[in-house]
């Protein structure tokens, strides 16, 4: 296993030896190993190997994740350096990527339990980090433009991506969720700017150290899209930092660092999109357990999360006149 890693690292790091090899917790969808790569040229480089679980509830493309991180290498975006990719699963039996291991804590529970001042400061820095990502000029970065479907619209492509996942994983018709996809199609805003969107930016998916975001993690859902999508996802109730920093304050800080402002209505639209997306991820998790793809009991009852998502989405749709506000935006 380790000799294969040495071979993979040769292109980016030269001749290395490995030390401190240990398996660590990689979350619900991945296996992870930490180690140091030591070379005469670069000294000691802390690394992490992330390998897909055999079946996950989120379909992730390691190429897309690695491609996004490689495009961000050397920029001011707080992302770990992408070192190597193992598409064939030579190292672990599943596709894997090797990244620079960044110092910091990732605990969402610990973040949300912070004292108000500390939590507010870190939330403000998260807004800054998100703004830095969304400001990044991906068009000249080598970021591979994915296939955005027949009309070439990345926003619509995201809706259709999750609609496809819905059809693939649902165990019953779910007429309300099916209707919500129609609603999303009919009301999608034109993005102020197309950016690299992380796709799963939230407490638990970034490292923090000394009150600052040291790295944003887990880029397997990165794509080109509307930056409002990331901000709305951050403010999902399950992990929202709203008690530290109201969404309007987050949007204002984000605008300072992104160089453009995300309209409040777009944020509101993507809150509804986020509920639909979370509902589909929940159905996929439930399906994964039901079909024997995972024994993880956190997934067995995930479909029970769907009604709350649908209730929120219907409530937020009813709370605004989308037809007139869309025209006015």
């Amino acid at each position: 296993m380790q000799s294969a890693v040495v071979g993979l690292l040769a292109a980016s790091c030269g001749d290395v030896t490995l030390s401190g090899w240990s398996q660590i917790f990689g979350g619900n969808a991945r296996r992870a190993w930490a180690f140091d790569a030591i070379s005469a040229e670069q000294g000691t480089l802390p690394c992490i190997l992330l390998s897909q679980a055999a079946v996950t509830h989120v379909e992730a493309d390691p190429d897309a994740e690695f491609g996004a991180l490689a495009a961000l290498n050397g920029s001011d975006v707080r992302a770990p350096r992408a070192l190597a990719i193992d598409r064939e699963g030579v190292v672990t039996g599943s596709p894997a990527i090797i990244l620079e291991r960044v110092a910091g804590e990732a605990g969402a529970v610990e973040f949300l339990a912070m004292a108000d001042d500390a939590g507010r400061g870190l939330s403000q820095d998260l807004a800054k980090a998100a703004g830095e990502l969304h400001r990044f000029d991906w068009t000249s970065s080598g970021f591979a433009q994915p296939d955005h479907g027949p009309d070439g619209d990345p926003v619509r492509a995201q809706i259709e991506h999750w609609h496809d996942q819905f059809f693939k994983h649902r165990l019953e018709p779910h007429p309300v969720l099916a209707w919500l996809f129609d609603w999303l199609r009919d009301h999608a805003p034109d993005p102020v700017r197309l950016s690299i969107v992380h796709g799963d930016m939230r407490p638990g998916n970034f490292l923090y150290l000394d009150g600052k975001v040291s790295a944003i993690l887990d880029w397997e859902m990165a794509h080109i899209g509307d930056p409002a999508e990331d901000i709305a996802w951050i403010y999902r109730a399950l992990w929202s930092p709203a008690k530290f920093l109201p969404a309007d304050d987050f949007l204002a800080i984000h605008a300072q660092h992104a160089g453009f402002a995300v309209p409040r209505r777009d944020f509101a639209y993507y809150r509804i999109f986020s509920e639909v997306k979370f509902a589909v991820i929940s159905l996929a998790a439930s399906h994964s357990f039901a079909s024997g793809g995972t024994p993880n009991l956190r997934h067995i009852d995930r479909a029970a999360k769907v009604p709350e998502c649908l209730r929120n989405a219907l409530e937020w749709i009813a709370a605004e006149d989308w037809e007139t506000s869309n025209a006015a935006a």
Binding site: E172, P173, H174, P175, V176, A178, W179, D182, A237, N296, L297, R298, I300, D301, A304, V306, P307, E308, L310, R311, N312, L314, E315
Partner: protein, 147 residues
């Protein structure tokens, strides 16, 4: 009646596992599995006896709305459409009548998903979501939703 009830049994099972087994399991994968199982037991405790009423209400409401929207006779009538939907009986039911209600519920949902949108369906969808929230133990009947 045979007491303790299923709800009492689920409650006792959850409490006992939480108090006597969980503290003995070291942190790690087994502990995470046990915590997830306890969480699910809590939900089942809140909802194990709601399926019958839930399915009856949901089916009656949907049938009433579709009865207004669809013609009474012919290929587009509710009964004709129901006969065309291939809804497989879902697993996990012991009671024959309950399984039949669940199968009809799946067929009705499929028909709702296929119909063009209208005000009656909008109102129906809202009621369906409210019922689902009660059924899965998210909220008590009549409770306000989140803001």
């Amino acid at each position: 009646m045979l007491l303790p009830s299923t709800g009492d049994l689920l409650h006792g099972l959850r409490q006992s596992l939480k108090q006597t087994v969980l503290p003995e399991v070291p942190d790690g994968a087994a502990s995470r599995q046990l915590k997830a199982a306890l969480h699910l037991l809590g939900r089942l405790e809140r909802s194990w006896d709601l399926a019958g009423a839930h399915l009856a209400q949901d089916n009656a409401d949907i049938e009433a709305v579709l009865g207004e929207l669809l013609p009474q006779e012919g290929e587009q009538s509710l009964e004709a459409r129901l006969s065309q939907v291939q809804a497989e009986p879902p697993g996990g039911f012991n009671d024959v009548a309950l399984r039949a209600a669940a199968t009809r519920n799946l067929a009705l949902h499929a028909i709702v998903a296929d119909l063009p949108d209208c005000a009656q369906l909008q109102a129906l969808r809202q009621r369906m979501v409210e019922r689902d929230s009660v059924y899965i133990g998210d909220k008590a009947p009549g409770q306000e939703g989140p803001k």
